[in-house]
Symmetry: C2
Subunit: 180 residues, 2 copies
DNA sequence: CATAAATATCTCAAATTGATATATAACGGG
DNA sequence: CCCGTTATATATCAATTTGAGATATTTATG
């Protein structure tokens, strides 16, 4: 499931420009899949090349042309087939956890700041996921519902854990006591 | 926190070859940060170039030379400084959740298989994290402890959620009933 | 009235992935 | 004893992705 395929997937929800698609990534996939313009625009160019989407250029005065992409029947087939056959990978890169792993090299103040900042990020994500669940009352969709609930559960678990166990990190070690 | 910096970090735990380092990534950072040879070997070459590590080539009969890397004082300083100043990013790419998001395009059998397989992966990760916690009894380290506990908490939350709410996905929708 | 944010596309160097190539030893099953 | 698999060990490379920046205008906001 590369950015190409997911652009196709998001286009099943309706025609969109690259700019729009970026926003859909941010609202729908926030918390578990990110994509920047650097991958979205080349993806759309490729999809148009291979007739999985069509591109309608709408000229606007002043700004660059707005290019609206629409999924084709071939594209829909391709997407369904991708969902049916692709083996999903799970990749994560948490620099936060990587740094905390080396907590013994980090002064307590800095550790507290790192945790507080990460907690704030998670609170933000939680808020957005809750907003997503609210929207669903009007447009029910089991997949979206499951994913939004999943995100909320995980995020709450992360927040709880951090608050409950942060003291583990800032308790002075014998090494740190000697240094001070 | 790129692979370069984390190689340096792992080398604070003792000298290692690229091959060893890969295994350390897999045991220590499993579940939250992965790195392949394709990034580790270039990283080590760069670190050696900039005197953050030294490289000792140990010739072995038959196999290629084993190159053992050791962190230098300069490297240790660089790493501590990186931990002190770097803003940690959190990136995740869950193709699993991305696919589930589009559950309405996926037949129930396939959905069940996807969930079962993901659950198995999570069980496996959980087992490894628990093994990590056990090891800690002998070599206590607050950072490692926190991270291992964090992973366990999140993983259990994910597994629980999946089992509790998977029925949301495989309940037939009106669209699917019509198709059959 | 200035200035920040939103709209909109695109490029590019750098980092990373994932697969592959190379070569040997060790281990277990048939 | 042979065969396949796993472990040891390094390295390269195309494809993908990131993250930042270039460009240019309109629309809010203070």
């Amino acid at each position: 499931m590369d950015v190409k395929t997911l652009c196709l997937g998001l286009l099943t929800q309706g025609a969109a420009s690259g700019y729009d698609l970026k926003k859909r990534f941010e609202t729908c996939f926030k918390s578990f899949y990110s994509a920047g313009y650097g991958s979205i625009y080349p993806a759309l160019a490729y999809l148009a090349d291979t007739d999985l989407v069509t591109c309608e250029e709408i000229s606007q005065d002043g700004r660059p042309d707005r290019k609206v992409y629409r999924i084709t029947d071939k594209g829909r087939d391709y997407f369904t087939e991708a969902l049916a056959s692709h083996q999903p990978a799970h990749k994560m890169r948490s620099e936060f956890l990587a740094m905390i792993f080396f907590a013994e090299f980090i002064p307590p103040d800095r550790l507290n700041k790192l945790i507080d900042e990460r907690a704030e990020e998670l609170q933000q994500i939680l808020k957005e996921l809750e907003a997503m669940s609210d929207t669903l009352a009007k447009h029910p969709d089991s997949g979206v519902e499951f994913v939004a609930g999943f995100g909320q559960t995980i995020t709450r678990a992360a927040l709880d854990y951090m608050q409950q166990y942060r003291h583990l990190l800032t308790k002075e070690t014998s090494a740190q006591r000697q240094a001070s």
